[in-house]
C-alpha cells in the first residue's frame, strides 16, 4: 500500500446559498481545490463524492455523473458515496484507499449537500431517514430527539450539565467568527443557548447545528509524487471506519458511540499515534452533546469528563487540544454530505499554518471525526504534516 497525501483543498461558503445551485457549488469547491493543488484537471484519475440525500433535497440521484459531466472530466470514473452525515468522510476514505492501492493516482474526494431547496420540515424529514425508519422515526423520533436521549442519559450517568453543553456552542460560534466560509459569524453566550427555544429537551435550538448548503473538495495524490505539486503535502497517516446498530436503542451504551471508538482505534493504530499525540481535532458536533461524547470516545479525556474538559477551556484554540477550530458543524454549518471533507480541509489548513486568526500554533498532527446518523457509522482520519 502506498502512502497518500492531500495536495489541495477547496471549500465554498457555507450557509443558506439561495442563489447557488448544487452543480455550481460543487464546481466552485472543485475548482478551488484543483487550483490550490496546482494541478491540471486532465491529471485527475477519478472522483468520489460524498452526498447524503440529493434525491430528497433536490430530487436528483446519480450525481456522480453530474459532477464528472459539469467538471468537464468525463469519462473518468466518478462514484457517489453515502453514509448519512458521514458521507463526506467515507468518500475521503474511499479515495484514500483507491490511491493507496495504486489503482488511481490523483483523485478528487468531494462532499456536497444542497439543503435549502426544500422547506425546513422537508429537510429535517430527509435527515430523519438516516435513523431507523421502522422503529425510531415511525414512533416519533427526530435527530435532535435521538441526541437528546443520549444527552439526558449522559447527564444522568456523569453529571454533565446543560451549561457545559452550551459552552460547546459558545466556543464553536466564537471559532466560526474567524472562518470566512462559516455560516455563523456571531458570538453567543451560555445564557443565549440556555434561553433558546426547546427543541428536544435538554437540547435547545442553539445546541443544534444548522441546515446548510455547501461543498468541499480535497485532492489526493500518492505521497511519493506529492512534492511535485506542493511544498506542504499533508499526509493521511491513518484512516478508520466502523459501524454500529442503525437504531440508538440497539446499543449497549447510550452515552458513547462505539463506532467512534472503533474507527479511532483503527486510525490511531495505522498512524502509529495515541490521543496524546493529536494537536487538534475536528469532531462531529451535530449537537453540542455530540462534541462532548466525541472528545471522550476519541480518548482525549476519560468517559464522562467531556463536559468538564469543555468547561475548563481545554478545547478552545490555544487550549490543551483545540476542538473544532473551524467552528465545527455548529458554527461553520453542516451541509451533511460535505461535512466530512470540510473537516479535512480545516485540518489541512491548520497543519499548513494557513488558518489565519483561528490558527492553532505548531499543529503537526490533526484528526477528523465524522459520524453518520446517531452513530451507525463513524469515520476517523489522522492527518500529519508531510515535512
Amino acid at each position: 500500500m502506498r502512502d497518500v497525501a492531500i495536495i489541495g483543498v477547496g471549500l465554498t461558503k457555507f450557509g443558506e446559498l439561495w442563489d447557488v445551485s448544487f452543480r455550481q457549488m460543487m464546481m466552485e469547491a472543485g475548482a478551488r481545490a484543483i487550483e490550490d493543488a496546482g494541478i491540471d484537471g486532465k491529471q485527475i484519475d477519478a472522483m468520489y463524492i460524498g452526498n447524503m440525500s440529493s434525491g430528497q433535497f433536490i430530487r436528483q440521484e446519480h450525481i456522480s455523473s453530474i459532477v464528472a459531466d459539469h467538471a468537464g472530466l468525463v469519462p473518468i470514473p466518478s462514484t457517489r458515496v453515502e453514509g448519512a452525515c458521514a458521507s463526506g468522510g467515507l468518500a475521503l476514505r474511499q479515495a484514500v484507499i483507491a490511491v493507496a492501492s495504486g489503482i488511481h493516482d490523483i483523485i478528487v474526494a468531494g462532499g456536497i449537500e444542497k439543503m435549502t431547496d426544500v422547506l425546513t420540515g422537508q429537510a429535517t424529514g430527509a435527515l430523519a431517514t438516516a435513523a431507523d425508519q421502522e422503529w425510531e422515526v415511525f414512533v416519533g423520533a427526530t435527530f435532535p430527539g435521538l441526541y437528546a436521549l443520549m444527552a439526558r442519559r449522559h447527564m444522568y450517568e456523569f453529571g454533565t450539565t446543560e451549561e457545559q453543553m452550551a459552552m460547546v456552542a459558545v466556543k464553536n460560534h466564537h471559532n466560526a467568527c474567524f472562518n470566512t466560509c462559516a455560516q455563523y459569524k456571531t458570538e453567543i453566550t451560555v445564557e443565549d443557548v440556555l434561553k433558546s427555544p426547546p427543541v428536544t429537551s435538554p437540547i435547545k435550538l442553539l445546541d443544534c447545528s444548522p441546515i446548510t448548503d455547501g461543498a468541499a473538495c480535497v485532492i489526493l495524490a500518492p505521497a511519493e509524487k506529492a512534492r511535485k505539486f506542493t511544498d506542504t503535502p499533508i499526509m493521511v497517516a491513518g484512516t478508520g471506519q466502523a459501524s454500529d446498530t442503525i437504531a440508538l436503542h440497539g446499543r449497549s451504551s447510550l452515552t458513547s458511540l462505539r463506532a467512534t471508538i472503533e474507527a479511532a482505534r483503527t486510525a490511531y493504530k495505522i498512524a502509529g499515534v495515541k490521543p496524546d499525540d493529536i494537536d487538534l481535532v475536528e469532531v462531529h458536533d451535530c449537537f453540542t452533546i455530540a462534541e462532548i461524547m466525541a472528545i471522550e470516545d476519541l480518548g482525549f479525556c476519560k468517559k464522562g469528563e467531556g463536559g468538564k474538559m469543555t468547561e475548563q477551556g481545554e478545547t478552545v484554540i490555544g487550549g490543551r487540544i483545540p476542538v473544532n477550530t473551524s467552528g465545527g458543524l455548529k458554527g461553520k454549518g453542516h451541509p451533511v454530505g460535505a461535512t466530512g471533507i470540510a473537516q479535512a480541509v480545516e485540518i489541512v489548513q491548520q497543519l499548513r499554518g494557513e488558518a489565519g486568526k483561528r490558527q492553532s500554533d505548531g499543529a503537526e498532527i490533526g484528526l477528523t471525526h465524522n459520524v453518520g446518523g446517531s452513530g451507525g457509522t463513524a469515520v476517523v482520519h489522522v492527518l500529519r504534516r508531510g515535512d
Binding site: 414512533v139 416519533g140 423520533a141 429537551s201 435538554p202 436503542h249
Partner: protein, 130 residues
Amino acid sequence: MAVPRFWREIPNRYNLVGARCGNCNKVLFPPRYICPHCRRMGKLEPYRLKRRGKVLTYTVVHAAANGFEDQAPYVLAIVELEDGPRLTAQVTDCNTDEIKIGDEVEIVFRRMGEDGQDGVIYYGFKARRV
C-alpha cells in the same frame, strides 16, 4: 409509510412479537432475521415479549417529527423491556414534567399516525407509566 410496509409488521407493532434465539437464548426486538450473536448458528423463533419495562432515558419533543405535530410536546423514551431488548417509544398519557429515568412503564396500544386524512391509520405501541 406504504400499506404493505406497515401491514407486514402488524404482529411486531401490535403485540411486540420479536424473536428468541434457540442457540443463545437471547430475545431480540425489534425483529431480526439473523441472530447478531450467533449468526448462522442461531435458531430464531417468534417470541412475544412481555409488555413491561423501565425508562432508560427520555426527551420532551417540542419540534415534532413529521406527522406528529398535533401531539407536540410529547415524551419520547428508550425503554428497557423486562425480556431484555430496548425500544424507542412515545410515552403516552404523560405530562412533560412527570417523566424520569427509571420510571416503570407498560406497553400499550395506541394510534401512531395516519397516511393523511384519506389513508390508513397506523396503530402500534407506546409506553405508559404505571
